[in-house]
Symmetry: C2
Subunit: 310 residues, 2 copies
Amino acid sequence: MTSIASPMALPSYAAIREVGPRDGLQNESVVLTTAEKLELIAALRDAGLRQIEVGAFVRPQQVPQMANTAEVFAQLPRHPEVMYCAIAPNLVGAQRAVASRVDLVQVFLSATESHNQSNVNMGIAQSLDQVAEMSLLVRQAGIAFDAVLSVAFGCPFEGHVPVERVLDLCGQLLDLGAGEVTLGDTTGMAHPLLVQQIICAFRERFPRQSLRLHLHSARGAGLANVLAALQLGITTFDSSIGGIGGCPFAPGAPGNLCTEDLTHMLHELGVTTGLDLPALMRAARLLERLLGHEVPGQTIKAGICKHLTG
Amino acid sequence: MTSIASPMALPSYAAIREVGPRDGLQNESVVLTTAEKLELIAALRDAGLRQIEVGAFVRPQQVPQMANTAEVFAQLPRHPEVMYCAIAPNLVGAQRAVASRVDLVQVFLSATESHNQSNVNMGIAQSLDQVAEMSLLVRQAGIAFDAVLSVAFGCPFEGHVPVERVLDLCGQLLDLGAGEVTLGDTTGMAHPLLVQQIICAFRERFPRQSLRLHLHSARGAGLANVLAALQLGITTFDSSIGGIGGCPFAPGAPGNLCTEDLTHMLHELGVTTGLDLPALMRAARLLERLLGHEVPGQTIKAGICKHLTG
């Protein structure tokens, strides 16, 4: 056999944060019960996932899908090797997250004023003031604190977002105590060149800081964006079991990366994940049963390539 | 703005062959009339496509979707800048293709004995004898002649296909007069590393020969495979409007790359295609009307990113 080394240099390991139980379910019309969520989360943990977004401490009237988050945390068996995360939109949410003894609290900020205004009805400066208070509260409780910067790869209202602005906001979030910043491609506007440009710029500004990507699969290029990031050594990605979690700005459009599709490609590339692909498929099928409809993921339809099932 | 050159070197231009009217429609249960096919093909040509698979000269009883191929060619207005292609499975098909004055005849061969047997009910050696006869006939008529090697990235029956076998068969097809060989990822088993390995091996064996890829989007990695190929300078790809054309071995699984999704990523990457993205979207919407159902493409749901619509 002709043996030619591929010119592609890839990391040997990547870690996936599962966002299905929060970011995914939040966009579903079906509201899962506490027992159903616990069953799904157990299946995800059994598949090897070690960081799982469990819920959000938001107002139940606004997001009924997340109304039982405190109850889920109360009944969730904890595992020292698994980080069970929650979103908090404000100080009250952070207090509830702390009271629920979550392992990691995440806050969201938008990279553009218009998206932040539309999302949380306040300007970026005011949001940053809130982040400061929440960060103190959460970290004083001995809980890890992270931030997600939304629309970092483009804004549905403002279009292109200057890389400098993205980096400045990352810097402010890190200064306020965020252990890690996740760059979110909230409405699927990233492409491989932009992904690499932002990674390079982030590394130049924050040479010692890890970077996590929350990419979407809009327009089919989700895994191409992952490949571009892997080629620059990024090893932490968000994805959602079954690919659930649409894009609120484009109804019906594909949203979150699909955990089993992402894992399948990573394993094909020889990038280990610690995940059990057949167990992920079982979790995705469980999700289909719980939701009562097909999920958008592709591997669940095409099947796992045989050499990866062993 | 922090300006850092991306480490990604990409070609400035890529050419897409549209396979929707043949490979796509062949897998649909709805049979389009001649007038409907002509309307679709006109929309594809208007969008800038310069190589279009129009139909297949196969037995009408076996593939009713292609029964009107000769009629479509008879009524198709020709354009010197557009190559209207057809598939021929055997000598009779090639004779009919020649009689229909197609611009390019394509033959298919499988990279494995078991897939070839399952597909055309004969061994590879016998298929190659047929290709020899067809090649003579077609080229003597002054018509271009190409070959597609199916399951080149993996076989649903045999699994991994040795690269040496793929290259040997490419060599035989080229020796028999094929102007170009297309490597087909018939059941979606390619991944970015394999794509790059096969491209490198092909280039080493056939340094002056162009290579076309017919990739599938099974398991979400279709455009990641395209990115990997672009990074090695491959500039010719097959895709299907709306992403129609499933995988016969995995019902419901995504099949062909979607032309508008592929074009969207290429344009984002600064790779020109000569294609008009809004016109492609109109062609995809026309296809949805003709088929009476949604197509699997994603850009048609998410919309074109604003900066690409100008």
